[in-house]
Symmetry: C4
Subunit: 256 residues, 4 copies
């Protein structure tokens, strides 16, 4: 159990697919957008990914059923006017350590490259820390051609503007090093709640860039559900953290 | 010394044993319950487990004798009306790093699977952070059949309710991935003291689920002893931490 | 992707080159000085270095273009009156973990040793935490001969004076263990802004030690640009950190 | 550079030597005592130990000369009335990570076991956090026989009394697992300065236990020197830490 484990559920053939990454992050903007795409396009899960670099825990889901920390790959064929094949990466976690992040992202990238992917989209949130009137979408890219596409889609270009931390940045960086190109779309969001508005804005830009149409009516509803689920989970986790800090459990402490 | 070391003390043959995990955690609920089972059922230690991912320290026990960080496996045969064989995992620590947790849990799981175990029970505490009138037991499980068993035993089902962090969660998650099923029992506890009441409540539910009887009279007494022992240990460790932070020891600092 | 990746762009032959390390650190003193040398001497990039121990992120640079975390080696031939060959190590990051730092530095050192380097200069800043009237340059070295050279160049010798943390220290320590000698030059700097004055002072001492001349007119201008670029990046990163801490994203938390 | 590197300087033959560990820790009690022994007994360094788990830094020592993070083994023959051979482990650091601690300690233990060592003494400080009238020595041991020896030497036995963190604990724990026995001596110390009084007290007990005589006249003087040296180092390191936290260096930050 020392490396990324990719369990292939279906050995699908895809035609030059676009790879979309949307692992959980700020405001769950990317994840919410991607989960919605999977539903609307009726995408098929074809691989499950586990890593010992994921947090050592499980989630308690619907009806008390235990869920592993996992990343998942879905595919959908013939999307939009360009009959585009798409691979979507979603999940409930990212690797914890820097080395773990590099390892998991590189292994996934190798896998989707093996499926023919050469273009990467990563979806994330950009925290403003204050209420957002209208969620603006910012973009960055691996090359000038993609920057042009962003400008045509009226995405705001970030320039000399800090870092993109985690999978949304790393996939593009690793792609750059093996002749894959790509775009990062970041939805402005207050950052402290599940942001359906920002997810909708990001989906609309993605629809322009990839030339498809998507119904976003149910997105608000989905956001509500996610919100309820997470609210409980967070409350409890925060409680555990507070207790653990105050508690008499000395077993996991380490002082060097 | 790079991997989990399992020292087998007795090459015991077991008949489809149930595997019970009770490593130290919140309120020492699981540990206390399991230690009590080991005593009452006169269980036999048959394996010792060491890992370089355990905290790099030792404990000073009775009479000044040094104790290693360790996990231990006990077995007991023909328990209760179903003549059940049981493997119990106890210890004084869990691995520190995420990768360490995955490694140790997976290695132990492989070992007990090799002994025929296919069902997992994990015992833990669930911190409330405030006094608890009557310790309620919450449950989660890997599958619907086990959820039904929990309901029959009048265990409260957690639903969409956060995570289970550490070994109690991870064993079930790893089990799920290799056709083992299981249940996590969590005893409500304030979390900041050794909670005999919660351990008793968890044992009572376990007795129903596994169809055995267990005398819990001495549990309170055991809790008192554990309390005294830990109180000293914690006080000292906290002192060391405070001192280390304030102290002039610059040898272990690192600023990147 | 488990080890340092050194991509060689040009298989250059060098004549007993001096190796100068100037990765980012306090006040960007070393980095600023080295970037200026590369420009003024029109140095050529001949290798790129990646590591899974670098931070798992990318930077957004000019015009929205994504830049990998990277270390880079430049060479320049026949510098100054001694016709000195020089290798310069610059980059936008250092490895995060202790083991990563050792791994990356050792691998780079082996590589430049293979190019004939036997003498090491490391450039860094030394934080005063308060305004600095005139940036003094401090030095340390692997041996007495180099200490003498520092004294001749009127560099202030640090004695029994703490540690040098990160690549600037480690390259000299690792060098010591394989018969390479060297000098660390540290420019006094307040530490909380890009310090062109300190970089100029360090360059002037380096020019004396290596017997070359360098025009520092454009250094102030370069510092201004760096300042603007970093200011934005930091502001944003700090915002993200603040938000992440306050936010409802529970996916990356871990409590043991 | 992935494992502990032990450079043997002299292939000495020793007669059933006692192994004494005194790496830096609280109040530098053990280190001070061991450095004094090395001087008084004119011990000979016979091995140097490096590890990529040590902090990635160097120290600036006398006259600006750079010193590696290092552990060192000394030997001395025919000490005291029992003509005892002794191996002493000293150094300026311990490994940082748990896994690193286990790795380094195990490798050193294997090495000294290969030299015939079967008994271990570890020397450390025990922080009180407040002024200490007379430095009491506390002890713990791997077995009852050694506890008896401690009692005869009028060492206070710690019982059910917390943990021993780091090398002083780990060597005994690892020893326990391979038929080596040993004793930990802990000198009570305020913990926030170099404590010559506590080091003297620990040496006096060690002299009783190992049946030798040692002149402690120069210990106070040595403590003064160490104090001066460390005071500067700490001050500076603390300054760097403060600056680094407040500074504009965003290169080494990571937010997941």
């Amino acid at each position: 159990m020392e490396i990324t484990q990719i369990t292939v559920l279906e050995d699908v053939e895809l035609n030059n697919p676009v790879f979309i990454e949307a692992l959980p992050g700020i405001g769950h903007v990317g994840k919410l957008a991607a989960d919605h795409m999977i539903d609307e396009f009726n995408a098929t899960k074809f691989a499950e990914i586990y890593s010992p670099s994921f947090p050592p825990q499980v989630f308690v889901g619907e009806e008390g059923l235990i869920e592993n920390m996992i990343n998942e790959l879905y595919y959908v064929k013939n999307v939009g006017e360009d009959n585009l094949d798409i691979i979507i990466l979603v999940g409930n976690t990212q690797a914890l350590s820097p080395e773990g992040q590099y390892g998991v992202c590189q292994d996934i990238l190798n896998f989707v490259k093996g499926k023919g992917a050469s273009k990467i989209f990563t979806l994330g949130g950009m925290a403003t820390g204050q209420p957002v009137e209208e969620s603006k979408i910012f973009g960055a890219a691996t090359d000038e051609e993609n920057i042009e596409l962003l400008k045509e889609a009226e995405v705001e270009i970030r320039s000399n503007d800090g870092g993109i931390v985690g999978a949304s940045g790393l996939f593009l960086g690793l792609g750059l090093r093996q002749e894959m190109n790509g775009i990062c779309l970041m939805g402005q969001t207050p950052g402290y709640f599940i942001d359906a508005q920002s997810a909708e804005a990001i989906l609309n830009k993605l629809a322009v860039l990839l030339n498809f149409e998507i119904d976003t009516d149910k997105l608000e509803e989905r956001a509500e559900e996610t919100k309820e689920m997470l609210a409980k989970a967070q409350q409890m986790e925060q409680d555990i953290i507070n207790k653990a800090n105050a508690s008499s459990s000395d077993d996991l402490r380490y002082i060097g």
